[in-house]
Symmetry: C2
Subunit: 209 residues, 2 copies
């Protein structure tokens, strides 16, 4: 399997980490997003919507990290839940993450770190940071007294929600403000095979320095 | 089945329209979101995250419209695709919608219409409208030469992506600018049982006037 990805992309990280923790053989293909490669004719020939990450497995080409996670769960029997109740609850969290957490955290991190300083929209950043406080608080509360979001082991719910939370670039999220999230990120990082996004995928700010 | 919902919520509409078009017997329970009812102790006792919509069917309580749509597809065999390829592609579109379209369109519409005029953040609204232009264009392109997003009949992909696009309140989306979306919205509205959000669910700006 090939995963078109780049290190700075938390959405790529969710797919890459699911593959890695599931023990699936996979190979990253670097998409130089910041040089516009996701909009190149070569890339658009593979995925007309220009999305990253993109999983290619034989005839199957799949984008959207949540759909890729679901596919890996189906293939490997890992991280998708042990019962229908768990399966539904995992899907609910992955949607929650895509809808509320990663979409907004990813955008805010992009605006604060990867745009030229004179192009960073201060009012938008402040607004998004305010909204995200409620989102982090929801996640922190859900983890109260629990090791994992659903059931008694790590699932796609955890792997989705942590997608942007290991990155060092500032975007308004501080682990120490959310002790349950902080401890849960350590638990995820203790899983056999876990790697930091910049170690798991090609491309990082250090490469561009 | 009961669906906790309110008319102004496009996320509620996706769940309600899926139930209605699938021919499932369901009953709306009005959540007076604008009076803070989603944060009331009574509502939080049912769903600690205060989310709307929320489906209750016997022992099962489920939030996130995408997870509710998946559950209805599982129960009824409707709108979830006829093959694994279709199923994956539908899930991909429902994630895309939650990640890129409804989350951002819903927020922009809220900021432009349901906040007091002196509280509307102009820079945020302009920024979101700019981002959304690319999102509408992606949807319009995907519908080129096709009746439906996936396969040859309406699926959860269509029902998810249309969630905010029938509302009359301005948020920067004009059907006439996107002819493929415009024709597709008419096709969805021609489905037996289709209703406009303000006819399908309780609560609308007219009720509050």
């Amino acid at each position: 399997m090939k995963l078109y990805c780049f290190g700075e992309s938390g959405n790529s990280y969710k797919a890459a980490l699911t593959l890695e923790l599931a023990g699936v053989g996979w190979e990253p293909v670097f998409v130089d997003f910041f040089k516009g490669e996701a909009r190149s004719p070569e890339y658009l020939a593979i995925n007309p919507m220009g999305e990253v990450p993109l999983l290619v497995n034989g005839d199957i080409t799949l984008s959207q990290s949540g759909a890729i996670q679901d596919y890996i769960a189906e293939l490997t029997g890992r991280f998708g839940g042990k019962t229908s109740d768990e399966r539904r609850e995992i899907l609910r969290w992955v949607f929650w993450d895509n809808h509320k957490l990663s979409s907004q955290a990813g955008m805010t991190r992009f605006l604060m770190n990867f745009l030229p300083e004179d192009k960073r929209p201060a009012e938008v950043i402040a607004f998004m940071q305010g909204r995200l406080k409620g989102v982090y608080a929801t996640l922190n509360t859900a983890l109260e007294g629990r090791d994992w979001l659903v059931g008694d082991e790590i699932t796609n719910a955890d792997i989705s929600c942590c997608g942007y939370l290991y990155y060092p670039e500032p975007f308004g999220f501080e682990r120490k403000d959310y002790p349950n999230i902080d401890a849960w990120l350590d638990r995820i990082a203790d899983q056999p095979g876990w790697k930091h996004p910049y170690d798991l995928m090609p491309g990082s700010p250090a490469d561009r320095a």
